[in-house]
C-alpha cells in the first residue's frame, strides 16, 4: 500500500455501530444503547485524484462507511484522517475546511434535493454560506455550475419535482461541486437511474474527475459500474472489508470467494442463455457468531472458516483479501 504522505484520506480500523434508540430509562441509568455492528474495523486509503470503488450488497456497510467519513455517523472506534489530520478534530476552522473539501452525492435523486427550493436557491445557499464567491457573483457562479454538470440554464428556477431523475442528480452534483471540493463521496449515484441516463451521469463524472482532479469514493452495488469508474476497488461483506485491490486485481484476479461470487452473478449482455446452479436459500437475516461472516454462503468453506475470523492476507502491494485461502 502507498505511504501515508501520498494519502488524502486514511481510514484506520473504523467501527460504526447502529444504536437502537435509547429509552429514557437507558439515559437515566446511563446504559449504553444496544448496538448493531454496521462497519467492523475497516481500513482503507484514498490518494489524490484517485477513484476508489466500494462495492457490496445491501447491508454490507458500504454506505455507512461513506457517511462515517463525512461525519454523518459517529464512529465507535478507529480513526479517519484527512490530509493526515483527524476529521473529528473539533477545531471550527478545520471543520469548516472539511465541509468545503469533502462533499457527498446521494443515491436517491428524489430525496436528495429540498423539494421546496429551486435549483438557484439550493446552489446559491451553498455559495453564500461558504462565501465561495461574493454575493454579487452568485448568479454567475450558479450558471457556471449548471454548465459544468450539463444542465441547461433554463433549469435554474425549477423546483425538483419539475425535473427528471437524471437532472436532479446533476443538481446534486452541482451542489457538491459548489464548494470546490477535493474529495467526493458518491453514494450509489446512478443506482436509481435508468440505464440510458446512468451512462450520461457516469460520463459526466469521469469528465469532472479529469477537469477538477477530484478524488472519489464511489459506493455502489453494481460491479459493472464500479469497474467502469474505479482505479481501485474495495469489497465489503457484512460490515467487513473482504478484499481490496486495483481494478485489474479485483476483476481479473479476485482472491476472495465472495468477490468471485459477486463477479459471477453479474448479468452480461451476451446473446446466450446462462445455466445457473440452483441453490437453497440462505437466510441473510441470520446472525453469524464467530468465524468468517461469509462462511455460511461460501462454497469453499471448511470448519476453520466457521471458527476463526480470517486475517487480511496481503497478496501484493495493492491487493489484500480477508480469507484463509486467499494466498493459495
Amino acid at each position: 500500500m502507498a505511504g501515508n504522505e501520498s494519502s488524502l484520506l486514511t481510514v484506520r480500523d473504523v467501527d460504526v455501530r447502529f444504536a437502537k434508540a435509547r429509552t429514557l430509562a437507558d439515559i437515566v441509568l446511563r446504559r449504553p444503547a444496544a448496538a448493531v455492528h454496521a462497519v467492523a474495523s475497516a481500513s482503507l486509503e484514498l490518494r489524490p485524484r484517485e477513484t476508489l470503488g466500494l462495492v457490496g450488497e445491501s447491508g454490507s456497510g458500504k454506505t455507512t462507511l461513506g457517511r462515517a467519513i463525512l461525519q454523518l455517523h459517529p464512529v465507535a472506534g478507529g480513526e479517519i484522517r484527512y490530509r493526515g489530520r483527524s476529521v473529528h478534530d473539533p477545531m471550527p476552522d478545520w471543520q469548516r475546511r472539511l465541509r468545503r473539501e469533502m462533499q457527498m452525492v446521494f443515491q436517491d435523486p428524489y430525496s436528495s434535493l429540498n423539494p421546496r427550493l429551486t435549483v438557484t436557491q439550493t446552489l446559491g445557499e451553498v455559495l453564500r454560506f461558504h462565501r465561495i464567491v461574493p454575493d454579487a457573483g452568485v448568479a454567475a457562479e450558479v450558471a457556471r455550475l449548471l454548465d459544468v454538470v450539463g444542465l441547461p440554464r433554463s433549469m435554474a428556477d425549477r423546483l425538483p419535482r419539475a425535473m427528471s431523475g437524471g437532472q436532479r442528480q446533476r443538481v446534486g452534483l452541482a451542489r457538491a461541486l459548489a464548494v470546490r471540493p477535493t474529495l467526493l463521496v458518491l453514494d450509489e449515484p446512478v443506482a436509481a437511474l435508468d440505464v440510458s441516463i446512468q451512462a450520461q451521469i457516469l460520463n459526466l463524472l469521469s469528465d469532472l474527475r479529469a477537469e477538477f482532479g477530484l478524488a472519489m469514493l464511489f459506493v455502489a452495488h453494481d460491479l459493472s459500474v464500479v469497474r467502469h469508474v474505479s482505479d481501485r476497488v474495495a469489497v465489503m461483506y457484512r460490515g467487513r472489508l473482504v478484499e481490496l485491490g486495483t481494478r485489474e486485481e479485483i476483476f481479473l484476479r479476485p482472491a476472495h470467494p465472495y468477490t468471485r461470487m459477486l463477479l459471477a452473478a453479474v448479468p452480461q449482455i451476451v446473446a446466450r442463455k446462462r445455466v445457473r446452479p440452483v441453490q437453497a436459500a440462505t437466510d441473510m437475516n441470520a446472525a453469524v457468531v464467530g468465524g468468517c461472516p461469509f462462511a455460511p454462503r461460501c462454497p469453499q468453506a471448511v470448519d476453520r472458516c466457521r471458527e476463526q475470523v480470517p486475517a487480511t492476507a496481503v497478496l501484493s502491494e495493492t491487493h489484500s483479501a480477508a480469507c484463509h485461502f486467499a494466498a493459495t
Partner: protein, 328 residues
C-alpha cells in the same frame, strides 16, 4: 407443450389508457406479442415504458378507473381475457396464469403466516383443506429451496429475508402449476447474488414444469442471460422483438442499440460509455411518428411523421424502426 405455431398467449393491438387530470395517457400503444408454451419472453425497457402495465393488463389487474383497455385482445389459449367475465377470469388467475411481483417485502401481507398465503390458491382453486394444503405447501417451499420448510411454514413475512420471501412468492405463484408465469421485475429489489439464485430457480422451475414465462426487467443483462426471446418496449410501444441472440447480436432498433451501449460492460473496459442523449418522452405529449426520434442518432425527417409499427426484419425478428438497416 403445445406447438410453437399456436402460441399460448397472444396479445393483439392492446391499448391501455390511464385517466389523468385533464385527459388520458396511453400507457400501452397497440402492443402485440406472442408467447409460446414453454418459452421465456424477456420484456425489457426503462421505467415508464409500459412493461409493468402490459403484464398487469394481461391479467386485468389494473384498477379501473383510472386504467381502461381501449382496444385490443389478450388471447390465452384462445380465450379473450379482455372480455372474460370477472368470475371466469378469477379461475384463470393463479391457476393458468400466475404472477410474481417486484418487491417480495410487500408482496405478502404482513399479518398472515407465509405458508397460509403460499397455499391460499390451493385452497381456493383446488378445494384443498388446510391440512392437505399445508402438506403441499411445505413440499412447495422445500422444492424452491427453503430449508426447514415445515418449521418455517408459520413464520410471518418480517421474519424472512428478501431472497427467501421472493422464493415464497414464487412458490405461491407455482402452487397451482400455472401454464404461464408473469414475472414483473422479480429480482430488481434483490442483491446480485440473490438475483442469481432467483433467476436460477425460475429457469429451473420453468424447465421442469414446461410453463411459459414472461420475464420483465429493466436490466438487459438479466433478460439476455435468461430469455429465449426478447421484446423491447419504449414509450408504451414494442420497438423490437426477436430471439435473444438476434436482438442483442444485431439490434435493429436504435433504442435497443442505445441501451446496450449505455451499459457498462464487465468483459471490456471503455473509457466512455455511449449514453442515449436526452430524456424519455412525456407519455402525455407524444406526437405522431417515432417516439424515439428526439434521442435517435439515425433519425431522419420521415421519422417524425410516418406511423411506426413492428415490421419483420429477419425471421422472427421485428423492429419498429423505419430504417432498421441503418442501425449499427
Amino acid at each position: 407443450m403445445s406447438q410453437a405455431t399456436e402460441p399460448l398467449l397472444r396479445v393483439r393491438d392492446l391499448e391501455i389508457a390511464f385517466k389523468v387530470r385533464g385527459g388520458e395517457v396511453l400507457a400501452n400503444r397497440g402492443v402485440s406479442l406472442d408467447v409460446a408454451a414453454g418459452e421465456t419472453l424477456g420484456l425489457v425497457g426503462e421505467s415508464g415504458s409500459g412493461k409493468s402495465v402490459l403484464c398487469r393488463a394481461i391479467l386485468r389487474l389494473l384498477p379501473s378507473p383510472p386504467a381502461r383497455t381501449k382496444r385490443g385482445r389478450v388471447l390465452f389459449d384462445g380465450t379473450d381475457l379482455v372480455t372474460l367475465p370477472e368470475a371466469r377470469l378469477r379461475e384463470i388467475r393463479g391457476t393458468d396464469i400466475a404472477m410474481v411481483f417486484q418487491n417480495p417485502m410487500t408482496s405478502l401481507s404482513p399479518v398472515w403466516p407465509i405458508g397460509d398465503q403460499v397455499t391460499e390458491g390451493l385452497r381456493i382453486h383446488r378445494g384443498m383443506n388446510r391440512i392437505e394444503a399445508r402438506e403441499r405447501g411445505i413440499a412447495l417451499l422445500q422444492s424452491i429451496g427453503i430449508p426447514e420448510a415445515a418449521r418455517r411454514y408459520d413464520d410471518h413475512p418480517w421474519q424472512w429475508s428478501g431472497g427467501m420471501l421472493q422464493r415464497a412468492v414464487i412458490a405461491m405463484a407455482m402452487a397451482c402449476s400455472p401454464r404461464l408465469l408473469l414475472a414483473d421485475e422479480p429480482t430488481t429489489a434483490l442483491d446480485v447474488t440473490i438475483q442469481e439464485q432467483i433467476l436460477a430457480l425460475l429457469t429451473d422451475l420453468q424447465a421442469r414444469s414446461g410453463m411459459a414465462m414472461v420475464l420483465v426487467s429493466h436490466d438487459i443483462g438479466v433478460v439476455a442471460e435468461t430469455c429465449d426471446r426478447i421484446a423491447v418496449m419504449y414509450a408504451g410501444m414494442l420497438v423490437e422483438t426477436g430471439p435473444a441472440a438476434e436482438v442483442f447480436g444485431r439490434p435493429r432498433h436504435p433504442y435497443t442499440l442505445g441501451l446496450m451501449r449505455s451499459s457498462p460492460r464487465m468483459d471490456e473496459h471503455a473509457e466512455r460509455l455511449q449514453p442515449i442523449p436526452g430524456q424519455p418522452p412525456d407519455l402525455a405529449k407524444l406526437a405522431a411518428g417515432c417516439p424515439f426520434v428526439d434521442r435517435c442518432a439515425f433519425a431522419r425527417e420521415d421519422c417524425r411523421h410516418a406511423p411506426v409499427a413492428l415490421r419483420e426484419v429477419a425471421q422472427g425478428h421485428a423492429s419498429a424502426c423505419l430504417f432498421p438497416e441503418a442501425v449499427r
